[in-house]
């Protein structure tokens, strides 16, 4: 079937203003939107720039705005977009570098800021023990692929560039609720400020956008409750 695309274009080397390009490609209903993008790039217009790698929703490279919603192009199928033109735009809140490629440096810097690693002293001879119930607490958040869809979708992140961001809180959650981590209190204190967890006002847009179905908002709220329980 024929698919029509309207794609955001901007190249800081030569363009003063962004504009949109229109493309038509043949695609099978079961194909991914990423397959269409590749075909456009390979066959029609090699200047179109976007990131991608795994093509099945595990590397986090190709988050973008698809018809107004943040998502991975490799997870969306042609059959669900039949009929009207598909509009592809770069992930909001981030600076556009070229076309659909945005500058993710601040995103990764903020992830680092939450210290996304286990902090625990001492190494037993074998593994540290952890019950299946304890381990289950992080089962959902370990799915995060750092795609930044949630940040792009979050109305708060879009308005307030100081907000630490949903993905970063998910990363912090993974350590806060890991029974092996010894910095729980410090980690909670770190997020306990107006632009930390308290900036979130439950729009649930992050949860809707997350391609790995992580209950992002619920996780943020769980941290808020933990702060009230342990720090107040």
């Amino acid at each position: 079937m024929e698919m029509n695309f309207k794609i955001f274009r901007f190249d800081s080397e030569k363009d003063k203003e962004p504009y949109y390009s229109h493309y038509t490609v043949d695609a099978e209903p079961w194909e991914r939107l990423l397959d269409c993008l590749n075909r456009i790039k390979w066959e029609q217009d090699g200047t179109l720039a976007f990131r991608m790698s795994c093509a099945h929703g595990v590397c986090g490279s190709d988050a973008m705005k698809i018809n107004g919603r943040c998502a991975l192009a490799c997870q969306k199928l042609v059959k669900d977009y039949q009929g009207s033109e598909v509009v592809l735009e770069p992930l909001p809140t981030f600076k556009v570098l070229k076309d659909l490629i945005v500058d993710l440096t601040p995103f990764f810097e903020r992830v680092e800021w939450v210290r996304p690693y286990l902090i625990a002293a001492g190494f037993p001879e074998k593994e540290r023990l952890q019950s299946p119930e304890e381990r289950k607490k992080v089962d959902e958040v370990i799915r995060c692929i750092l795609c930044a869809s949630c940040v792009g979708a979050c109305p708060v992140s879009n308005e307030n560039d100081k907000y630490i961001g949903p993905a970063q809180i998910v990363q912090a959650f993974r350590r806060i609720f890991d029974s092996r981590d010894q910095e729980k209190t410090e980690r909670l204190k770190q997020l306990d400020y107006p632009d930390g967890v308290w900036a979130c006002v439950n729009y649930f847009e992050c949860t809707r956008a997350c391609p790995k179905e992580i209950p992002v908002t619920k996780s943020i709220n769980k941290i808020k409750r933990e702060i009230e329980k342990l720090l107040r």
């Binding site: 093509a55 299946p132 799915r143 692929i145």
Partner: protein
């Protein structure tokens, strides 16, 4: 620009990162990668990482070593397999200490599950040896190592593509890399270089591999005159989602899933009576193709079914949720009620850059090349022989990545700074400008599609002389066409167009190495099955293939297999 670091590591998969962590405390180490570290394809690994922890049932490293050797159809170097199996428990505990969120047993230990070709008591029955975190094992190990790397302040150059390996007087002196954001070619001058660029499944049409897996590190080593080892051994994973190649992990069968043909029959009972669906991948892939050729594919078509419906919703949710979501998203299948249509997909390269067990790259005389190391899927130690077992790759990455790091540390105590060659970036600039300034010609996509089709048709699960010769002929035409490759993008920022054209050179060169090695080996062993030579022939072929580009042309030669404990025997399961 010229960057100078004691150690430069190419690749931020598990192999590259684990090596980097080993040297970071003592030396200035930088890692460069095509993609952000957490986007590396190690993150796609699903099923597990093997070690004889014995957390679920008694296990021993000897059994693990035996399985690795037999799984590799006795082409495995047994000193390497011994190192792998013995060091595995330590490596897993280390990952746990770093924070990897493994699933747990009721006692709170690391949970383990069954995987293809892993057995107890030297082949008696399947054993639970794969440690796992749901079906996202690679993802969480990659997260852990990459955040550990940033915690230690390791310098990462993301979206830098290796485009040339700089060698001088038989020594590695540096490399050239293309910075995607700016279009600049930079030179990295180093005392030690480690290649950890992963696999190159993109040589084939249908693959579980990502777009970054074009094997540039392996190809550039080959281009620099370094031999490549055992390139004919290409693993086809039995269960890729039909048509797409997206992987459905062996863990699905490890948890009890079974393959069925159009009659609903569990056909693996006919091919591997003892361990059935958990036979090694080469055997299962051949069985599937044999079923399909016998018109027993589903509806007589070219796929079979992977049936998980009897596992129950809870097990699927807890242990196989990612693959279930792939089935749902890409083929609309609910795995708890319907089977997944699957067929073999190109998955893993057993061959690659020859190294010793400490990551040192070996030249044609089997002596170490000064300053050059390799680890991970791009290397061939050879610990996987003619066929890798599931959950042995992730293990290989952390065991041999660490060993390579240790060796680099040791070597750097003495290694001086090599002189950089004059105009080190010139060769890369000429090549890239050649593409950039060409006005008429053919787009990369056509050549790449033709290459992938020709490799898939002639050099997949089954091969024969006629097909391989035809493929080599066609390949030379494609190489000629590549000389006229054109691109649209003349810009500097994020010119992925030119990088994809450059990667095509890697794919073409690696296809050559695979085809020539496959044509030369006149026997069937592991993943290399020649229909015109269907038997394994230890008398003549129990040896590693090496292929090298020299001034006089391609040269194929061989070296012996290291056999210490297990004499080759017939391989039945």
């Amino acid at each position: 620009m010229i960057f100078k670091h004691d150690v430069v590591i190419v690749g931020t998969g598990l192999a590259g990162l684990r090596a980097a962590l080993e040297v970071a405390d003592e030396y200035d180490v930088a890692v460069i990668s095509k993609v952000y570290p957490t986007r590396s394809h190690s993150g796609a690994a699903q099923g597990g990482i093997g070690a004889s922890l014995g957390n679920e049932e008694p296990d021993s490293w000897e059994w693990h070593m035996y399985d690795t050797v037999k799984g590799g159809d006795y082409l495995t170097d047994q000193d390497a397999a011994e190192t792998l199996a013995k060091d595995a428990p330590r490596a897993i505990y280390e990952l746990e200490h770093m924070g990897v969120p493994f699933n747990r047993t009721d006692e709170g230990k690391i949970a383990q599950r069954a995987f293809g070709g892993h057995t107890r008591d030297f082949g008696a029955a399947p054993i639970k040896r794969a440690c796992y975190a749901a079906d996202r094992t690679g993802r969480v190990i990659l997260d852990t190592l990459s955040s550990e790397a940033s915690r230690r302040g390791i310098r990462v150059y993301s979206e830098f593509n290796l485009v040339d390996l700089l060698m001088d007087k038989g020594r590695a002196v540096g490399l050239a890399a293309y910075e995607l954001a700016t279009g600049e070619v930079h030179v990295f001058h180093a005392r030690a270089i480690l290649l950890a660029t992963g696999g190159f499944g993109k040589v084939y049409k249908t693959t579980s591999n990502c777009f970054a897996n074009t094997g540039d590190g392996v190809y550039l080593a080959y281009r620099a005159g370094i031999p490549l080892q055992d390139m004919e051994f290409v693993q086809f994973h039995p269960t890729g989602i039909y048509g797409l190649g997206v992987l459905i992990s062996e863990a699905a069968r490890g948890e009890g899933g079974v393959l069925r043909n159009r009659e609903g029959r569990r056909f693996m009972e006919d091919y591997a009576p003892t361990i059935k669906d958990l036979a090694p991948r080469d055997m299962v892939s051949r069985a599937i193709i044999t079923e399909i050729r016998g018109k027993r594919g589903i509806d007589g078509r070219d796929f079979v079914n992977l049936d998980l419906t009897h596992l129950g919703k809870q097990k699927i949710e807890e242990r196989l949720s990612d693959i279930s979501s792939f089935a749902k998203i890409y083929v609309g299948v609910d795995t708890s009620t319907d089977p997944i249509p699957v067929s073999p997909t190109c998955h893993y390269m057993m061959g690659g850059i020859p190294t010793d067990v400490d990551g040192k790259v070996l030249d044609m005389n089997n002596t170490a090349i000064h300053g050059l190391y390799a680890a991970g899927e791009c290397a061939c130690i050879s610990v996987h022989g003619a066929n890798r077992l599931g959950c042995n790759s992730l293990l290989d990455l952390v065991v041999f990545g660490r060993r390579a790091g240790k060796m680099i540390r040791l070597d750097l105590e003495q290694a001086d700074w090599p002189d950089l060659i004059v105009n080190p970036e010139v060769k890369s600039l000429i090549k890239l400008k050649g593409i950039l300034n060409r006005n008429a010609g053919e787009k990369a996509v056509h050549i790449r599609n033709a290459l992938q089709t020709l490799m898939t048709k002639n050099c997949s699960v089954f091969r024969d002389e006629k097909g391989l010769r035809r493929a080599l002929d066609e390949l030379s035409t494609l190489k000629a066409r590549y000389e006229n490759v054109v691109i649209d993008d003349r810009g500097k920022a994020f010119n992925t167009d030119i990088m994809e054209a450059a990667e095509l050179e890697s794919l073409l060169g690696l296809a050559e190495a695979i085809l020539v090695s496959a044509l030369a080996r006149k026997e069937s062993r592991g993943a290399h099955f020649r229909e015109d030579y269907p038997e394994r022939d230890d008398a003549n072929w129990l040896k590693h293939t090496l292929i090298q580009r020299t001034d006089e042309g391609r040269r194929v030669f061989y070296k012996p297999v290291n056999i210490t404990r297990f004499e080759p025997k017939a391989r039945t399961y």
